[in-house]
Symmetry: C2
Subunit: 139 residues, 2 copies
DNA sequence: TAGCGGACGTTATGTCATAACATTTTGTAT
DNA sequence: ATACAAAATGTTATGACATAACGTCCGCTA
């Protein structure tokens, strides 16, 4: 039972990109990441996009479709090592930019139910809430 | 109880853009719409984007975030006239490009439940399934 | 050690979206 | 009718996101 999309060993560029995302306190665009890595020697968008492709593929990074931006994966994951997450939900604060990642198994089940009843075969599912986080509503 | 985001009377550009989308059999990018309207006199992306803004605002058109494209609204809506739809789900076939729009009230409720428990105030919700539609799986 | 596959580097280009400004149209209150 | 405000329009330029196409380098293994 080898890990198909496991965290694999990162290449130099992948590690650089991941570290930038992991240190950030919110989603970053590919070009913002690139700017952060000029000093490390990166010159072209493709260098970042290629790293992002692999990181997204392995589940270490998520792409936020409604933002055209990327975040390091930070799902509640206290569980075991091997099993990676499936579909998750993102709540994106439009004021502070914070992104909360969480699972909603019931939601996923509902959508899978619809898909099955329609003969639709899902390859990827995007669920993103845009709004105000609790902190920003209070502050 | 006047309609706040009612179908309003469309301006010339809005009508042109909407007609293109309504005639299309799948999502279109703003630039594809523009190309289709060159003969009608449209010259610049903004003319299309401004029309799209209004159409999306009024609910006649939806933006597909994972595609950066737009579709005419076509939800099952057999119900009454006034009440427009809330959050809907899109199933996008990656083979034929067809988009199915449907409501999943339970899903919306689940997400609202999470939001309430977290103090998150949602302004917009994106739910998009990418995959293969029944027809394409069969064919 | 030859060859293969994956990552890398670079240039150029394609695609999606908006800023800023001037002008025209439309609705409305006088 | 007329003047005003608000909305829509037209145009140029620019910004932001993403990939095509090419060649090179490196590590693996047959």
């Amino acid at each position: 039972m080898s890990a198909d999309t496991a965290p694999r060993d990162l290449t130099r560029n992948q590690a650089l990109v991941f570290d930038v995302l992991a240190d950030a306190d919110g989603p970053l665009s590919a070009y913002t990441i690139l700017d952060a890595l000029r000093d490390a020697g990166l010159r072209a968008p493709l260098q970042v996009y290629r790293a992002l492709d692999k990181l997204v593929e392995s589940g270490m990074v998520h792409r936020l479709e409604s933002l055209n931006a990327f975040v390091a994966c930070n799902h509640p994951a206290g569980e075991g090592a091997g099993e990676s997450h499936g579909t998750v939900v993102f709540a994106i604060c439009e004021a502070c930019g914070n992104v909360t990642e969480f699972a909603q198994q019931d939601v996923v089940k509902q959508l899978q139910g619809w898909a099955q009843s329609e003969g639709f075969e899902p390859h990827a599912t995007v669920i993103e809430l845009r709004g105000l986080c609790g902190d920003c509503r209070a502050g």
